[in-house]
Symmetry: C2
DNA sequence: CTGAAAACTTACGTGAACGTCAATACGGTT
DNA sequence: AACCGTATTGACGTTCACGTAAGTTTTCAG
């Protein structure tokens, strides 16, 4: 519940480097407060970093992550803008769901492969069971 | 059911460039047959390309994809090696399952955000309902 | 056989996402 | 005030996954 983090605090917290945080700032993903020249990251910044890193692990580019974060803290005044934000959100949602489907397919493939190999293993163990493989 | 594909056939089939296929060969993901200097891709090569591209869409690096493809067509002689392949396969499987969990968390986040925005939209529509927002 | 299309090799270029290094600048301690 | 550790701003370097361009065969329709 500390109110603020230095750049090193946050870096250590997520096992990244300060350079990475500055880079995220360069591309507009973070806008930490400053006291003088020093960056002061808030709790909200910490959460954003967490979301950014999750996005990276899932294979999204920084611009894509920016889109999603924009959805997150969008507070549109105009109804037209609001509808647009919802539309983009639904689009992202569909993309994520497609990705889940593909990942599940990959998981099925890996499971099938494992089963196949397990079976081969059992066969090998059986044939070499009596050491002479007679009968 | 064509037996062979030229590099352009495969490129067009997956909407990629020949350069991409040569690159996958450079890094050891493909080893197409040759007639002279020309590459001839088999049905098996086509399937591998499909798997490679799925891996890319899911955010895996080419080396990571190579690992998984190695698991796919591994035919280990020694039981020790076989166990090792199974172990690596299970490891990848767990990684994929973690990734699925994270994606599902992201999906939940997106859904929550959409619901929130939908609600804001409804409120906006209601307050501007009678155009004067009386009572 | 010829000429165009397509494939090949070689090699340098590129955008994304940082890494790394140099040169300050600033903050707290003794 | 001097010192040391940490932060900051450039700015160039690096890896990955190809893009792109040049120059050279190879293939194939006419």
């Amino acid at each position: 519940m500390r109110r603020y983090y230095t750049i090193r605090d946050l870096a250590d917290l997520f096992d990244i480097t300060p350079r990475t945080l500055r880079h995220y700032e360069d591309v507009g993903l973070l806008k930490p407060a400053r006291q003088g020249a020093q960056r002061l990251y808030s709790e909200r910044d910490r959460v954003r970093v967490q979301l950014i890193l999750r996005g990276r692990r899932l294979g999204f580019s920084l611009p894509e992550i920016a889109e999603m974060l924009d959805l997150y803290d969008a507070d549109p005044t105009e109804i037209t803008q609001l509808r647009e934000v919802i539309r983009r959100g639904n689009e992202k949602l569909r993309q994520v769901e497609r990705q889940i489907s593909e990942l599940e397919a990959l998981r099925e493939d890996l499971i099938a492969m494992r089963n196949r190999l397990e079976q081969v293993l059992q066969e090998k163990l059986n044939t070499s069971e009596g050491k002479g493989c007679s009968d």
